[in-house]
């Protein structure tokens, strides 16, 4: 499948697959060194640490299965998993139709749409910390958006009530990432051959029909790529939630990543925190593989995290 991104042109594979010299191996070494040290070793390290006791400063002691026992026996884990999946599913449900619609709209080549696209993508440039801080102020019941528009139903204690806070997180995540996914869909739609639409038109298919019978099926792989990114990415909404609610009110928005941080770096229980991190990796890989099976193609490159 080819979604977009110009430099990644799918090429004439024949180009130069077999270089002649086998002595180039050392050129990989610097990259390998960095990646193994800070990527591969930590991946095994986190598994190792989940069987130890460590407060983050002192010595590390082996601790058998205690960390796992305490994590798996703690109702907090189920709650965090639940919140994580809830936010994952809700944000998928909001983002996918909206991104499809906007992506299809942006795929047109009218000049004003190009101009709109320039503005659409601005939220992508902001850091999650900046976005969280902005929305926190914007949702203030007395001095924020609600007061500005004079709409009383917008003047709520958005971050102070459990269900509202979850809704706010989903909304802000969508605000942040819909432009990105629209960009992916825009590229996908532009690659659908025009001739299919022309044929459909001759057959008298209306535009709505064209959308559901041509655009949507043709975008199958784009939808899978985008969904994988959304779903796997949603496991890593740490900074946004950390700055916005810090997991609150209560534990209402305490997703897995936040649970890990709180146990590890606030309660100084690195063992249990590492166990949560292992669960995080497994959930991410599991979902990515599941979606990949749905797609039936090789999409190693679409499992990008977004850290």
């Amino acid at each position: 499948m080819s979604t977009l991104a110009p430099p990644v042109v799918k090429g004439t594979r024949s180009a130069n697959s077999g270089g002649r010299s086998g002595s180039l191996g050392w050129l990989v070494l610097p990259a390998l060194l960095f990646f193994v040290t800070f990527g591969v070793v930590p991946l095994f390290g986190v598994l190792f640490l989940s069987f130890t006791q460590w407060d983050g400063i002192g010595d590390i002691h082996p601790d058998g299965l205690n960390a796992w026992r305490s994590v798996l026996g703690d109702p907090q884990l189920l709650h965090s998993l639940g919140v994580t999946f809830l936010i994952m599913i809700l944000s998928w449900l909001v983002q996918t139709p909206a991104s499809l619609l906007l992506g299809t709209f942006l795929a047109g080549h009218q000049r004003y749409r190009g101009f709109l696209a320039v503005l659409y993508f601005i939220p992508l440039l902001l850091s999650s910390a900046a976005i969280a801080i902005t929305w926190k102020a914007l949702l203030d019941p007395n001095f924020g958006l609600g007061a500005g528009l004079g709409l009383s139903f917008l003047q709520q204690d958005w971050l102070g009530k459990d269900t509202l806070a979850v809704g706010v997180v989903v909304f802000i995540v969508s605000w942040q990432f819909i432009p990105f996914h629209s960009l992916i869909y825009q590229g996908g739609v532009r690659q659908i051959p025009r001739s299919i639409y022309e044929a459909a038109e001759i057959d008298g298919a209306g535009r709505l029909r064209q959308f559901f019978s041509i655009t949507l099926p043709q975008l199958k792989y784009t939808i899978i790529t985008s969904s994988t990114l959304m779903v796997v990415g949603s496991l890593t909404f740490f900074d946004l939630i950390f700055v916005l609610t810090a997991g609150g009110p209560g534990d209402a928005t305490r997703v897995l990543a936040l649970d890990m941080y709180k146990r590890g770096f606030m309660a100084n229980l690195m063992g249990p925190a590492s166990a949560i991190a292992v669960i995080l990796v497994l959930v991410g890989l599991g979902i990515a593989l599941l979606l990949r099976r749905l797609g039936g193609t090789d999409q190693t490159d679409s499992m990008l995290e977004g850290a």
Binding site: M1, S2, T3, L4, P6, V8, G11, A15, S17, G19, R20, S21, S23, G25, L27, V28, A31, L32, F35, V36, F38, G39, V41, P42, L43, G45, V46, L101, F105, V118, L119, L124, L125, S127, S128, A130, W135, A137, L138, L145, W175, P179, L183, I184, R190, E201, I202, L208, T236, V243, S274, A277, L280, V281, G284, L285, T300, L304, E305, A307
Partner: protein, 299 residues
């Protein structure tokens, strides 16, 4: 893929010439409106917060609480900006620049070397293994491995330094960079490499004098993509530093917010100032930036 496509409408917007005239036209218009309305609604949703950040950052603190939040200030003032800049903003900005440049330049160079070797180095087990390792790396989220990274940084006695943020940033920029760059180098016509060889050029020379310049668009793309990620990174400074002097901008934003809490205009001015460099970048290199953002998601 947005970039050099000629301005031809992808989807035929004219009604079919064959029969069914009116009803098709009606449908066409309806859906156009649907998409169009969604487009304009999104413009409002997307831009309103940005507009609000900008106007509010020019309000004085008392003015902020007195005026309608959505109206421009009665009196424009730079007080908030002055306050932010006096609160060590320059230092945090400098830290961010050092960390971003210090991570991205080496990351892109060593990724390029690795990509070149993977494409040109034949089919040895070592290069293939390295390549699969990098591909696997795409699926490792930084957060999941942050605890061991923290441990490694402590053991290297790098805790609370800028280097502590640079090293993991380099590592986590590598997988996608190698993927994008190797796909690109693979498309360089084989004949060019052959003629370099016939001219007696070493592989090392070929890499820098042929492959490097030809890969420039992809290099720009990965540079921008990674730079944005490092610039906005919040987790690494949060975990790996302690001293306020080592903060980078996203973390500084968070502490500003704690510090100035009620002084919303000052908090928003700091948001504007941290985003400004990226916005300038966006204005200059919008296409590279957007293609950078989706780098690697297409094949």
């Amino acid at each position: 893929m947005a970039v050099t496509t000629p301005p031809a409408p992808t989807r035929p917007s004219r009604p079919s010439s064959v029969g069914k005239g009116t009803s098709t036209t009606a449908k066409l218009l309806r859906l156009n409106w649907f998409g169009g309305i969604a487009g304009w609604i999104w413009l409002v949703i997307g831009m309103l917060p940005i507009y609000w950040i900008v106007i509010s950052s020019f309000k004085s603190q008392s003015n902020f609480f007195a005026t309608n939040p959505l109206l421009p200030p009665d009196e424009w003032t730079l007080d908030s900006y002055r306050l932010v800049i006096e609160s060590d903003f320059i230092r945090y900005f400098g830290n961010s620049v050092v960390v971003t440049v210090g991570a991205i330049v080496p990351a892109v160079l060593i990724s390029f070397m690795a990509a070149f070797a993977i494409v040109r180095g034949g089919n040895g087990w070592f290069l293939r293994l390295s390549n699969s390792l990098f591909l696997m790396g795409l699926a490792i989220p930084l957060q999941a491995v942050i605890i061991p990274v923290y441990l490694i940084i402590i053991r290297l006695r790098l805790y609370d330094t800028l280097t502590a943020m640079i090293l993991p940033s380099i590592a986590f920029a590598i997988p996608l960079s190698v993927l994008v760059l190797s796909n690109f180098i693979r498309d360089v016509p084989r004949e060019l490499f052959e003629s370099m060889r016939l001219d007696g050029c070493s592989e090392w020379g070929t890499m820098w004098r042929l492959a490097f310049p030809l890969t420039r668009p992809a290099l720009v793309t990965v540079t921008i993509y990674n730079a944005l990620g490092v610039w906005n990174n919040f987790l690494l400074p949060l975990i790996l530093t302690q001293n306020p002097d080592r903060r980078t901008l996203p973390l500084a934003l968070w502490t500003f917010q704690g510090q100035y809490g009620v002084n919303v205009p000052a908090v928003l001015a700091s948001v504007v100032l941290t985003t400004l460099p990226i916005l300038v970048f966006y204005a200059v290199g919008r296409r590279q930036l957007l293609s950078g953002l989706t780098a690697g998601f297409g094949k």
